[in-house]
């Protein structure tokens, strides 16, 4: 019998440190597969946000810099402006990108920086232990919203991709999820498309990925996947949010 799958070449050998069932691990593989398939390994530069994936440089076998929390898009801007021939992407969590990094992300999008943002939306601050994120759902209990997110005090879940889609410089935005096989396949396609938009110099591209965080959701991995379907996608509908011709 023939082995029909293998670890992507753009991933180093190190086992992931993420919790069991964590979406980061799945997304890492997808990003690496796309880089492999598009032959971008030797061209890619990753600007890494701070979050559970802060040491993703242990996994991605591409040139990588760790940006200060929230500033990955600004760092990527600096890189891309110096090296327009490279493929530059950020890898950021929802807290990183939609809270502290709001301005950097929004303005990079508005300027149409030719970078790709891999946006892990797990509705929570994973790394710091499960605090409320701007993306947390109404009623979601977190360590800093122990009674559940109250929209009147803490606001509504921020649909940041929809915000970015409004901007002139953004070219491609799609929301995907990694909670079942079909969605995982779509997620991979979306990542490929985003890189394509960058290659074609069409504008800023974002793949928002609804990603399970069983640990901080206090659910099993399987429950987490179901929660994405049943609850999260109701607030964050999957699909293409914006796509310029390119």
């Amino acid at each position: 019998m023939k082995k029909i799958n293998s670890r992507p070449a753009s991933l180093k050998e190190a086992p992931f440190h993420y919790c069991p069932g964590c979406g980061h691990s799945i997304v890492h593989r997808l990003v690496a597969e796309v880089i492999d398939e598009m032959k971008l390994r030797e061209k890619s530069i990753c600007s890494l946000g701070v979050g559970c994936a802060v040491v993703a440089y242990k996994y991605f076998d591409v040139d990588t810099v760790e940006a200060p929390h929230g500033r990955a898009a600004a760092v990527a801007t600096g890189i891309k402006r110096v090296r327009p021939e490279n493929i530059v992407f950020t890898y950021q969590g929802d807290g990183d990108l939609a809270a502290i990094g709001t301005a950097e992300t929004l303005h990079a999008a508005n300027r149409g920086e030719l970078i790709t943002v891999i946006f892990i939306n797990n509705a929570v601050y994973g790394m710091t232990g499960g605090q409320m994120a701007p993306t947390s759902l109404v009623g979601q209990k977190t360590t800093t919203s122990p009674a559940g997110r109250n929209p009147l005090k803490e606001g509504y879940p921020l649909k940041f991709s929809e915000v970015l889609a409004l901007l002139g410089g953004s070219s491609y935005l799609e929301r995907v999820a990694v909670n079942n096989p079909a969605n995982i396949r779509k997620a991979k396609k979306a990542i490929a498309k985003a890189f394509q938009h960058q290659k074609k110099k069409s504008g800023f591209s974002v793949v928002e990925i609804l990603s399970p965080c069983p640990t901080n959701w206090r659910m099993s991995s399987v429950e987490s996947c179901r929660w994405i379907d049943e609850v999260m996608t109701k607030v964050y509908p999957l699909g293409v949010i914006k796509e310029k011709k390119c």
Partner: protein
Amino acid sequence: MLIKTVFSGFGGQGVLSMGHTLASAAMLEGKYVTYFPSYGAEVRGGTANCTVSISDEEIASPVASQPDFVVSMNQPSFLRFQSLVQSGGLILVNSSMVNITSVRGDIEVVEIPTSELAEKLGNLKVANMIILGVFIKVSNITPFTLLLKNLPAILGEKRSRLLKINKEALELGFNYLQG
């Protein structure tokens, strides 16, 4: 006398609550006590541990570079801490999950088949309290009765329904080595 104990294992094995339970009891006794958890929240997937220091005078450092006692719930933590424990010290190991190898001659090792015992009680989650019971017995570090008395306060209202099983587990452990 200053005694430092490290409780260690995987996250999820309840090592922090072992330490917390012990520390609280010792505080009741009027000792100087510090409790210091490892905090790896920014780094996923590590082993968890905590250090309880109990003394008759002020405690300098809540950290133990050379603990007197170690309670080790899994293999990686056993490997790590067996080399740190003081000469003459003691390690309590969860033999259900630890293959004891390369042990130093100058320390004492006590093996407890914690998981099996916990299964007897019908709740794998109280393995930590069982081994804590054993530890109190072996170390004689704080009065067992105080620890039991303090249990409701530790568990709080929310988890008061767990009081019985935890008590049972502690007692099972405390009496284990007699049998």
